[in-house]
Structures are given as structure tokens and as C-alpha cells.
């Protein structure tokens, strides 16, 4: 297992008012993303525990791209990864943001 951590400043704060959301399952080729609206301003943080070691640079690129596209300001993402491909990671991150920005509590 490998632990990775990324911090970014987004363009803007994420919309909606929900405090947490969760998506995905920890399994081979899959991952779970827990997102919490706990950071100030436009700060964004991703804490990753991954079963696939040595892919730090790939995560770096995927995360940077994600932050650029979705402006997840104020959100902390905690990820348990079972060795998902980059496109699956991007999908889950996008799903997580959509969920926390949804109406409801």
C-alpha cells in the first residue's frame, strides 16, 4: 500500500451545501471516494491510500486535471484505491463532486 497526498487551490468553492458524500467501492480496479466540505476558501486536498504502488506521477496528473475541470474548492477527498485505472479515478472524483453539490442534506 502507498499513501499519497495532494493540495491545490481551486478556482472557486464547490457549490451546494451538503457536508459529505461517498461514492464507489474498494475492489480490484475500483476505488471509494469520501468527500467532505471541511476546508477554508478554495483549498482542496486529496489523501489517497492505494494498493497500486509507484504511480505517484499519474495520480498527480489526474488530480491536477480534476481540480482544473471541477473547481472543488473547500473539499477534502479521502480515497481508498484498489488499483483503479486513471479514467476510473477521474470518473469517481467527478461523481463525488456532483454528489456533494446536489440538492438535499
Amino acid at each position: 500500500m502507498e499513501d499519497l497526498s495532494f493540495q491545490h487551490k481551486a478556482r472557486s468553492r464547490a457549490g451546494g451545501s451538503k457536508q459529505t458524500a461517498i461514492i464507489g467501492v474498494v475492489a480490484s480496479g475500483n476505488l471509494e471516494v469520501l468527500v467532505e466540505r471541511v476546508l477554508p476558501g478554495v483549498e482542496c486536498r486529496l489523501e489517497i491510500k492505494t494498493a497500486a504502488t509507484g504511480f505517484g506521477e499519474v495520480w498527480d496528473a489526474v488530480v491536477a486535471d480534476f481540480v482544473e475541470r471541477h473547481s472543488p474548492g473547500g473539499l477534502k477527498f479521502s480515497i481508498n484505491d484498489g488499483g483503479a485505472r486513471p479514467d476510473t479515478v477521474s470518473l469517481r472524483l467527478a461523481q463525488a463532486v456532483r454528489l456533494i453539490e446536489e440538492n438535499g442534506q
Binding site: T20, I22, V25, G104
Partner: protein, 314 residues
């Protein structure tokens, strides 16, 4: 903001009717099974109560340890629910996973009037935590019986990808009633384990048709090992749960005695049958070999005709 709420309620019902229970995640099953927006989780993933044992094996954790427990409403009435995530570690029971269900059952025992729905999706004990998992299952069995003795209806819903195997099968056997779908399977030993231990002649684990005839939802329904068969939608399981809630009677010694008779009769009647098809034929099913092909509604009618349930004897 009333228009969006109405739209959401409609699409919730539509989604429940078209979403495969088998393919849905544990969370999606609960979201669509329970009344819209009624679910409240106990020890949710943000609590990060993960397994303390998986890191010894360098395995990834899941924040809810593979089971979602909480409270919700079913047609307006409160129910306690537990849904296993069959894709995380095969939905297997570990220390934390099992403890969440035990706490729920103990609360139900104390309150007495709130039913418990267990959405099984498990291969049994999580080997990396084998002793803790086995013990959790033993404690769950005890907790189910204590709750039932206090008047609680404990219903098992079985239709997930990992089936209901190992100790999960024993817990299911302790429930007040069970609903099962075609993809659901209930057994103690898995097909591969039987083949490894006894050889492919005894059981060919790659013969899917054989696996389903022996352990699958249709056979369990016809055997009386499950009480209600449903099609593979979340709405189907919801309706099945509601049906069972209306039918379950209090638990007592009479029930146990009736179960002894039911199971002994089953042994006498079918103990020499070589295959499920022989059992179905012996039960009076015409063209028994066609049962696996029957669509859900026809199968349900057939099963109700045969009339074998365990309703007063479980």
C-alpha cells in the same frame, strides 16, 4: 422548490423498478429500497471505522468496512437495515463489519417493535480476520434469536453478487423469513471449496447451471428454504419485504418443533435425489428441467402453486 422534489420522487420510484438489485451497490440498494430520503446511517464512512487487521496483509480498507447499517422507512414504517457490500472483500464478515450488525440487532431486541432487514451479500468469514469473523457470525446468530424472541421480525434479502455463503448462510437460516431472487444463492460451502475438497466429480464449480440448480434462488424457493421469490429489481425486494412483514408470526418453541418436522420431512422426501431437477419433479413440477428458463412472474406463480414455504416453521 416543489417541482424538483416531485420530479425526484418520481424518478426514485422509476429507478427502483428498473435498477438491478444484483448489480447495485449496497448504498444504492438502500437508497432505492427505503422511502426516498429516509435513510439515516449509523457509523457512516466519515467515521472511518476501518478494519484494524487488513493492513497486516497490505490490503486496502473501506471506510464502512463493507457494511452499511442504519434506520429508514418502508411505506412510512420505521425499519432497521444492514446492507453488505459484496464487492469489498467478497462482502465477508470481519470484526468491525460484524459488530455493526450486532449492535443493530441488540437495539432492535430492546425496542421490540422495529423490524430488521438484512441485505445479505457475503462469501462468509473474512479469512484475514477468520477468528473475529467467525465469532461475529456466532454472536449475530445469537442476537437474531434474542431479537426474534423479543418479537422482532428479522428479514433476509438475498440477491447480491457474492450470494449468501458460509456463516452468512447460517445467519440467514436464523431469520424470520427470506426473500430471494434468481441471481441469489444460499449455501454453506462454496462451489470451488466443494470441488477442491471432494473433486470435480462431486461438484463441478464451473458448471454455472449446476451451481444455480443446487444453491440458487429458484431452487431455494421451491425447496422452502426461502419464502418469497422476486425479480431482480430493488422494487421487487421492497415489495417482498413488505409482503413478509405482513406474514411473519411470533417466534417460539412450536416454530422450532415445526422446523424439525419440516427439515426431517425434506430429508425423507428428497434425501436420495441426485439433482435439483429430481426434487422439483418429485414436488409435482411439470417439465422440471425448464424451471431455470422460466421468467420471474411465471416462476412465482409456479412456486406459489407448489405451496412449499417455511412460514410457520423457521
Amino acid at each position: 422548490m416543489t417541482a424538483p422534489i416531485k420530479h425526484t420522487a418520481q424518478s426514485w420510484a422509476e429507478r427502483a423498478g428498473t435498477t438491478s438489485f444484483n448489480e447495485a451497490s449496497a448504498r444504492t440498494r438502500l437508497e432505492l429500497l427505503l422511502d426516498a430520503g429516509s435513510f439515516v446511517e449509523f457509523i457512516g464512512p466519515e467515521q472511518r471505522e476501518v478494519s484494524p487487521h487488513l493492513r497486516i496483509f497490505d490490503l486496502p480498507e473501506q471506510f464502512d468496512d463493507g457494511i452499511v447499517v442504519g434506520r429508514g422507512r418502508l411505506n412510512g414504517s420505521t425499519v432497521f437495515v444492514a446492507a453488505q457490500e459484496g464487492r469489498f472483500m467478497g462482502g465477508a464478515f470481519g470484526e468491525v463489519h460484524g459488530a455493526k450488525l450486532i449492535g443493530l440487532l441488540r437495539a432492535a431486541r430492546q425496542i421490540k417493535s422495529i423490524p430488521v432487514l438484512i441485505l445479505f451479500d457475503t462469501g462468509g468469514v473474512r479469512l484475514q480476520e477468520a477468528n473475529a469473523g467467525e465469532l461475529a457470525i456466532a454472536e449475530i446468530m445469537r442476537a437474531v434469536m434474542e431479537a426474534r424472541t423479543a418479537g422482532v421480525k428479522v428479514i433476509g434479502l438475498i440477491g447480491g453478487r457474492s450470494g449468501c455463503y458460509g456463516g452468512g448462510g447460517l445467519i440467514a437460516g436464523c431469520c424470520s423469513a427470506l426473500a430471494v431472487s434468481e441471481p441469489g444463492r444460499i449455501a454453506v460451502s462454496g462451489p470451488e471449496v466443494i470441488e477442491t475438497n471432494r473433486g470435480v466429480e462431486e461438484f463441478d464449480s464451473r458448471d454455472r447451471a449446476l451451481v444455480w440448480r443446487t444453491m440458487g434462488g429458484k431452487h431455494r424457493r421451491l425447496l422452502g428454504a426461502a419464502d418469497v421469490f422476486t425479480d431482480d429489481t430493488v422494487e421487487g425486494f421492497r415489495d417482498a419485504a413488505l409482503e413478509l412483514l405482513g406474514l411473519i408470526e411470533p417466534f417460539g418453541l412450536d416454530r422450532l418443533k415445526a422446523e424439525q418436522v419440516r427439515l426431517a420431512d425434506r430429508l425423507r422426501s428428497f434425501g436420495a435425489c441426485a439433482d435439483a431437477v429430481d426434487i422439483w419433479a418429485a414436488e409435482g413440477v411439470a417439465h422440471a428441467e425448464m424451471v431455470p428458463e422460466l421468467p420471474a412472474d411465471q416462476f412465482i406463480a409456479l412456486a406459489n402453486n407448489i405451496g412449499r414455504t417455511s412460514r410457520d416453521a423457521r
